[in-house]
Symmetry: D2
Subunit: 281 residues, 4 copies
Amino acid sequence: MDEENIGLVVKPNSLLAEETAKKVLQALEKHNAEISVEELSRDYAFLSGYPSFKLEEDPPPRIIVVGGDGTLLRAFQRLCRDDVMVMGVRAGRRGFLLDVEPYEIADRVEDFLEGRFRLYRYTRLDVKLNNKTLPCTLNDAVVVGKTAKVIRFNVFRDGERIYSIDGDGIIVSTTVGSTAYNLSAGGPIIDPGLDAVSLAPMNPVQIQLRPVVLPASSRIRIELRPASNEAWLILDGQHVEDVYEGDIIDISKSSVPAVMARFKWWENYYERVFTRILSYW
Amino acid sequence: MDEENIGLVVKPNSLLAEETAKKVLQALEKHNAEISVEELSRDYAFLSGYPSFKLEEDPPPRIIVVGGDGTLLRAFQRLCRDDVMVMGVRAGRRGFLLDVEPYEIADRVEDFLEGRFRLYRYTRLDVKLNNKTLPCTLNDAVVVGKTAKVIRFNVFRDGERIYSIDGDGIIVSTTVGSTAYNLSAGGPIIDPGLDAVSLAPMNPVQIQLRPVVLPASSRIRIELRPASNEAWLILDGQHVEDVYEGDIIDISKSSVPAVMARFKWWENYYERVFTRILSYW
Amino acid sequence: MDEENIGLVVKPNSLLAEETAKKVLQALEKHNAEISVEELSRDYAFLSGYPSFKLEEDPPPRIIVVGGDGTLLRAFQRLCRDDVMVMGVRAGRRGFLLDVEPYEIADRVEDFLEGRFRLYRYTRLDVKLNNKTLPCTLNDAVVVGKTAKVIRFNVFRDGERIYSIDGDGIIVSTTVGSTAYNLSAGGPIIDPGLDAVSLAPMNPVQIQLRPVVLPASSRIRIELRPASNEAWLILDGQHVEDVYEGDIIDISKSSVPAVMARFKWWENYYERVFTRILSYW
Amino acid sequence: MDEENIGLVVKPNSLLAEETAKKVLQALEKHNAEISVEELSRDYAFLSGYPSFKLEEDPPPRIIVVGGDGTLLRAFQRLCRDDVMVMGVRAGRRGFLLDVEPYEIADRVEDFLEGRFRLYRYTRLDVKLNNKTLPCTLNDAVVVGKTAKVIRFNVFRDGERIYSIDGDGIIVSTTVGSTAYNLSAGGPIIDPGLDAVSLAPMNPVQIQLRPVVLPASSRIRIELRPASNEAWLILDGQHVEDVYEGDIIDISKSSVPAVMARFKWWENYYERVFTRILSYW
């Protein structure tokens, strides 16, 4: 697929996403952009006529994702490479990771086409379950008991034990993910300028255990202890694996960052984080 | 079943529980107690010869439970009445609610038979799902998203809204339950002398939401909002119900307390709570 | 002083309070109320001509306080009786306890004069330092190390030890005070319908120690241990005492509640609590 | 002072420190070490005969500190250079930073003299108040209101605002300091392998504000807002400065790390952190 092509990924089954995507399409066509559409997004009638691509196989070098944080995280799980840049357009209540608002689509699409943005390379996690490689993880890898049962597990960093926990589970998050689930579970916010991983125990019986922040380069191992209840391993809230006693989860920094074009780098990051909650009461 | 009968409930499939129960049996027989055994516990060969009873139907007026907190909580769910008193013997790692240790079984069984103990009446919760009455609840009623998905729900007290939450769920605990799951989730310890209910939000997106302590007499309602993901309602970590958007959970003080004979009322309660965690590293 | 008299207490040295108090005065005079002014508040020229009263000695039976939470707390410390009712008018950024806003002064003063309000009787704390009685306490009694030094102390309830702490100190708060300093320090919100006391340890070295909620009837004792650094005992953020090693602080429920007339009892209490923070970024 | 000299710093006025220091002295003399004693420590009679040195002026290249964490922190404040290495011998209840126990003094002193240890270079903070340079800071810089009054302040990182707080204050800690005051105040543990700074707000009125972890290279500025109450700036719990409204505190990574010889680098760091609290009940 040639260098000029712009790919489109749209959240499925959403009137709001459909409407928003139409504005994106309009802006792209105004600039005579060459357009292709991600396979599944072609379910929308107004997109069905465009050439299609698969995120895992033949993505164009520039992609616009329309939807919420879930849509973007799913797209990046399948787009496990760093030679494709993504622009995010918010269509939904929650879109912390997507910085283009519907009202400004025309201007931002033009900026995207003409290179007026800042490129960010976000560290991702490489997650293996019993040596099997799992999808690329941008926000967090969560180990949590099934049906809210207490699980028993150990957590190691480069061979040294950090925790021995009986509890709901643990959240391992990247810098980007630190303001998501990690924050709700009592983990700290990691500044975007620091490449680190946060460990946040979830409701441990051992109430003295607290969040730990590690270098992103750490090799983290989580081991379900004998006689533990079963657990799920959940990547970015999207991909789910079963975990049994004795299973081993290895987490390390991925060699493949997620690449995003951002248009509001001048905005105050912390104001964005701390006022986000105001929309929820 | 006559007034003199002593019932026995034993944690299933546990060598430790079996061994401990044998000591209890020996002490009972030394005092020529009339013994019956809970139906399922008769799976142990050494108990199969005794007359049986069902906790829901014909429990004797005094019962000894051998096992961990889970065994006791399960027994009380089925024993939804206050004319039966329970003595707990710990056989397992966790037994915060059971105050008799294996080494002192002979003495405490004699105390139990001869009335040397203090009776405690613990408030329980009456929980209804869409008006259907569920098992008696001693520790806590937990609403939590399936497969760790965020759920959206409102919480009311006597018709007034307390919370509107997007998060993992919420723990509603009694005074007795306040030192269990509630404590791990950041809820306060409620003094045994205060009849209250603690609400502890679990990992809310709205990080400004904090635990609330209500009078035990409050009528609490939890309502899964439209478009919420599905949830489980879990009572005392034992009984599980499915909850769907629009479903209504009503929680109020049960008219039937749990009645326990306790032998170590002179012990420091808070020392017990705060040092319990030390056994876990 | 006769039954018809209305007393006025105004926050000192504040243009905003002066302006607000003028509106209150205007409303009172429109209804030909008989007016007296608290001694210190007569420093304002426009109030100097009215008869004066002292809060400790001869308060009229109905008093209007104009200012912020600090003004109200100070007034109640001096007004240690329950035969005087107080109406609060907010003149300042923070006024959680004062429910009349400047724009509605005319209507609420009329309501106050004609008895259209709901009376609330708020539990206060009786605090003694080495048996010396201190001012009435509505929100909280705080023990905290001087110059941020770690102090060592024990906390007892009815003779039983709850905590042994090395840390910054502890907050003992009433139900009303639970949404103030207690909440910031990680303590729970206590529902207005529950008469209780919250203990919130401040930055303890023993990180497993958590907030405890007690019956309001508890007799709480705090004892500075030998070799502890010196501390302050601070009541409602207003009254300060020095505390030395070996000193004993006794806290119990006061027999004299604070009596307030409230005009917005129909408002959602929890919405008020959780949205209060929104005004701060 | 020549390269072979070993300096001795002893906690003042402590029988335990005196006893411990005598053992250190004995071990040094057994190896015919050339010994000098820090000026103030010569108040102990058994040390008064040795040549003296000042930490600020002419410290020998190797120093043994005997005491608790406070003694070590004070020594490093005065020893603001990185060409002197320090060995710590614990004589006191709290000595997280000092890894030699009294029973092993003979062996560890020999190790120190013969170079059998691992050298650690710990990042310190450079703190300026209104451009005046303050002592070297190893653990934390704390801004806290005097007499527990709420202060109002802003916190910036490289010119961008992170927080606007009304509260007790804030703790700015290094990686080493993260397990001290920062941990008690709800801040995360920073792994020794990560060079970072943790910001932990202390009891903010804005309860949605959470700890933030920054790169150690950040330029942090704290500004007391107009109309704020007065504050103290406290470095390592030892050095205190007054701070007034409008004052500016600048914090950045010092170019001069603290250099320590450690003998138990093989020990589990996290076990040490999480079990430390066990000695306190």
